[in-house]
Chain length 612, copies 2
């Protein structure tokens, strides 16, 4: 990226010492982390209803029981994760816990599950955010893929600017969203208890797809699986403990509890209202949009709900932009991801992780044409798999820490329960949604684990090859300097002088002239060389096939093998023209030689540039 | 191009000393040069008839007078060019003559005219060759553009293999074409004189476009202009005198005369038969195809004519592949084209010119959808412009040579007549075809001249800047060697040793360590450095913004400005991994530094590679 554009988009670089100050207050942290966790209420109810609708209006009777089950799950998972935050205040969340307590493979499975899920969170949140927009403004429906990609690009740039500034971006929308959604729930409940009925007529049931089947247990479990999307985002807090102010654990766990409370209450409220107003899921309008119309009518508050839902969902992607780069950094430091993910960017964020997430999630949106319902089946497997493994890890952790932690038994019990419940959910989700897309994730996760392990193997092999174990410091080297001279002009004088200045002895520097045409006039060359050659011996190599590389290679080989030099420095004079296209007018000899010799051990190429 | 593929397509490289032997016998040379000159009879008559047909069958009465005028022109031009071959046995043809006798601008106008024309020759010949194929096999009509591009690719590769082998490729088709066309003319004349009538019924006149207008003088002149396409290719012999055996001038002029004779007789014969059989030009079938059917019927000889016409026309492009690279070389040696055009390729041909011609003519075919009739109006302006300028140059030449050449007056008269006649033709063509496409060439030629002149200006400026005029040999340089050390491992030991071996004194070599994170553990680094650092002073640069380039740049600047070094060699240790994709797993520090420092005067980067 050209420097100007980069500064404009991302801002001036920050010094490393400012890093510690880039922490969030709890109020700001709730905004950042809740944008994912809470925003899922915008689609979780709809996903449940979509499944239950397959059994017609009879199926709808199951919506509240399913929602209550999911709310209970939220409580269990949040309680479990409060313990993660205390046990691992350094952050790293599920991955760190699983890796430390369960070993490499479960750790990497957790890493892979989280990897998949972060990418999906961005795609799903953005796609539903855009769905909220297109519910309110139907004309935009056909442009949804482009809108999604633009939204992701916006969030990516906000994050490349750094954590403090992004919190500022997200505070107003998150709290605005909470305000409008609670307002909607309260207004709706008021209508319910006063028996006032919906403020507007909703689409009739006849508009709904009529593929009725029995409300079987399997269908209810599928509805439950779909609704589990509501839980995504909860673990992000434990992953990002580093972003909190001191005392980090206390602050993080407080935010986690609030988040769970808001999430659970809004989710139950919305599901309850969907029953009250007999909302059915349809293709063109979201369930929340229908409830908002029923509660408020088509006025200011309706548009407030839609607008803030859209914004919060798009920004919901932001949680992943906080979590993913940090996870990638930890995995990179462990050697399971490319080292570049641990590089701190200009603005003290892990830029490569942010960019990778933006690119991958945009690609997913394009492949799935920006349709939330097609992405949801891929979604929750990874989340719950990482829940299960980290809770299991924590159980082990408490057993190991039983001497320091007096309440280890009750703690182990809580996490054990969490692991058990989420483990059952993983199986339920994988089975009920396997054919609808979960199979992709079931294949992807082991593939990722394989890649992670082979990256680690590569790093281990390199480290071993670079090890100094048993290696003696080297003795002095004996280098031969060769300077390539095509013709004698001002552009090569500097190179000749330079070649002399890096030669230890007068015997270890020579000029090479490659003669490509038998009848080239040489008298002038020799005269000039005598005057300007600074006394360097001139070696003329014949090239019957007009090729520069081969005679030079043979000469170098001989110097290394027979003359006892252990390295050769080839000084290539180059002149640099003013405009790039002027290069088209000159033979790029230096470039070709460089390419040809790039895999030659003990040959060092030194380009000496002369600026015209 | 990967080496294997290159060898397969082009063959083994040839040594430079074989160059003199790569000459053609007259028999072979006629085949090569005639493929363009003679092949134009396949479309020249048709282009005349296409114009005359605008005046209906009355217009056809003018076809023989126009053809006779063109045949006379052929005789005049060929006679003129025989003198070029003697006056300039070194080749270069029209361009060399104009440049030497008329000065830079006329010389470059000739060069530009020839440039445009060589490209057009390839496009037109190929397009009409494919038209002969699609006349015989109508199903291929819609694929003509692809077929043209494939044909050009074939000819390009044949030429990259070298002149001797290409002559072999062209001999059989050229002589085969002559045989079948003479057979057709003889058979047709037999039918004419015996009054036998056509062997097959030809398309009725009602099939022809009915946009009659009067057979005005302008229309006849347009027909003449179109027919002048027959003359293209004549000058190629004078351009390629180098390809003949000794005595080159005598051989070349002999071949030129034969070529003119064959061209003129076939052209007159075909035009005469078109009158005899009342042939009208139609879109789907060529005129020659119709005459062949009328002369032979739809049998073996008909297919012989079509097949050889197709092949000869496609190979007719070959003349340009002989002429253009040689012209480009001469212009490149004069400094008006990029120097690369003067490079002799693996097979002793000027490969860059060959490739450029193949690419440009393919592009033209694609732009004009492979339709001969749309390319023809662009065609002859350039040819005749170069005729005129070279003949005018030759007049001047004879005046200058009047002391050595006793017959200078008659020679000057012949060339003067040639210049006058072809000059008139240029004006006629430019005027009558201006709106139909000649305007493109009228714009292109001055543009090309402008480009040629600015290329020359660039080379002149470079040469002046590189001149040694008044420059003293430099005194000794004082170089500082810096070796960048990130961490101490086996991969950097070689680089440290190398850095020492290119330093003149112990004071002029240092190791640089850039500290990007304030709290990086340093104890291990120092211990290792003490053991493996070979006594090099270690300079630690702090980088608060985690940027490697800026601290390094400042340090280098200071060394150059304050410490009195006049160059800095930066040794960058790099380790080379086994597979290219493994590079993705390592920070490409060396690469980034190289990019950042590439425009830094007096800094030489030496990559020291360690192979894992």
């Amino acid at each position: 990226m050209p420097s100007m554009l980069r500064r404009l988009l991302i801002g001036e670089p920050l010094p490393t010492q400012q890093q510690a100050q880039e922490r969030l207050s709890n109020f700001a942290a709730l905004a950042v982390f809740a944008s994912d966790g809470v925003s899922s209420v915008a689609y979780a109810t709809e996903e449940i209803l979509l499944m239950l609708a397959l059994a017609g209006s009879a199926g709808m009777l199951f919506s509240m029981p399913v929602a209550i089950a999911i709310a209970t799950l939220i409580a269990i998972v949040a309680t479990s994760y409060r313990q993660v935050v205390y046990a691992y205040p350094s952050g790293g969340g599920s991955y760190a816990v699983a890796r430390e307590n369960l070993g490499i493979i479960p750790g990497q499975i957790t890493g892979a599950a989280l990897f998949v899920d972060y990418v999906l969170t961005v795609s799903v949140s953005t796609a539903s955010g855009i769905a909220a927009v297109t519910s309110a403004v139907p004309a935009l429906f056909e442009h949804r893929v482009v809108l999604c990609v633009i939204a992701i690009a916006f969030v990516t740039v906000a994050n490349l600017r750094g954590v403090r500034e992004s919190a500022r971006v997200f505070m107003f929308p998150t709290y605005g969203f909470m305000f409008f959604l609670y307002a909607m729930v309260v207004a709706g409940l008021y209508r319910h208890f006063t028996g006032a009925g919906p403020a507007e007529t909703l689409p009739a049931q006849s508009d709904v797809t009529q593929v009725y089947q029995n409300a079987s247990l399997f269908l209810v479990l599928r509805a439950f699986s779909s609704g589990c999307a509501a839980l995504t985002g909860i673990e992000c807090v434990s992953n990002g403990v580093q972003a909190f102010r001191e005392p980090v654990s206390k602050n993080a766990s407080q935010v986690l509890s609030r988040l769970a409370l808001i999430l659970g209450s809004l989710f139950l409220g919305i599901t309850f209202l969907s029953r009250t107003f007999h909302v059915m899921p349809i293709h063109e309008e979201t369930v929340v949009s229908q409830i908002a119309r029923a509660s408020f009518g088509h006025g200011f508050f309706y548009y407030g709900v839609q607008m803030f839902t859209a914004v919060i969902l798009i920004l919901g992607a932001n949680t992943s932009f906080n979590g993913f780069p940090r996870l990638a950094r930890v995995q990179a430091l462990d050697g399971f991801l490319p080292r570049q993910f641990a590089n701190l960017g200009d603005r003290l964020v892990y830029s490569n992780g942010i960019i990778a997430l933006g690119v991958l999630s945009s690609a997913l949106i394009v492949v799935f044409r920006g349709e939330t319902h097609r992405l949801i089946p891929l979604y929750a497997v990874g989340v719950f798999l990482s829940f299960t493994l980290s809770q299991a890890g924590l159980v082990r952790h408490w057993f190991k820490a039983r001497d320091e932690e007096p309440r280890w038994k009750s703690r182990a019990f809580i996490n054990g329960l969490g692991a058990l419940v989420t483990g059952v959910v993983v199986v339920v989700i994988a089975v009920t949604k396997f054919v609808h897309g979960a199979w992709i994730v079931v294949i992807l996760i082991p593939m990722f684990v394989g890649v992670f392990l082979s990256i680690r193997r590569h790093y281990d092999a390199v480290a071993q090859k670079l090890s100094l174990q048993g290696i003696e410091p080297p003795t002095d080297g004996n280098n031969l300097v060769l300077v390539l001279v095509g013709s004698v002009h001002r552009g090569v004088l500097g190179a000749i002088r330079y070649a002399r200045s890096i030669a230890k002895t007068p015997e270890s520097v020579r000029a090479i002239h490659i003669e490509t045409e038998a009848n080239r006039p040489r008298a002038e060359f020799v005269t000039r060389w005598e005057r300007y050659g600074l006394g360097l011996p001139l070696v003329v190599l014949k090239s019957p096939y007009r090729n520069l590389v081969e005679p030079l290679m043979s000469y170098i080989d001989e110097a290394l093998e027979k003359e006892g030099f252990d390295s050769v420095t080839l000084v290539l004079p180059e002149f640099v023209v003013g405009k790039w296209y002027e290069n088209l007018l000159h033979n790029q000899t230096a470039l070709w030689l460089q390419v040809a010799l790039r895999n030659r051990p003990n040959v060092v190429i030194a380009n000496y540039r002369y600026y015209l």
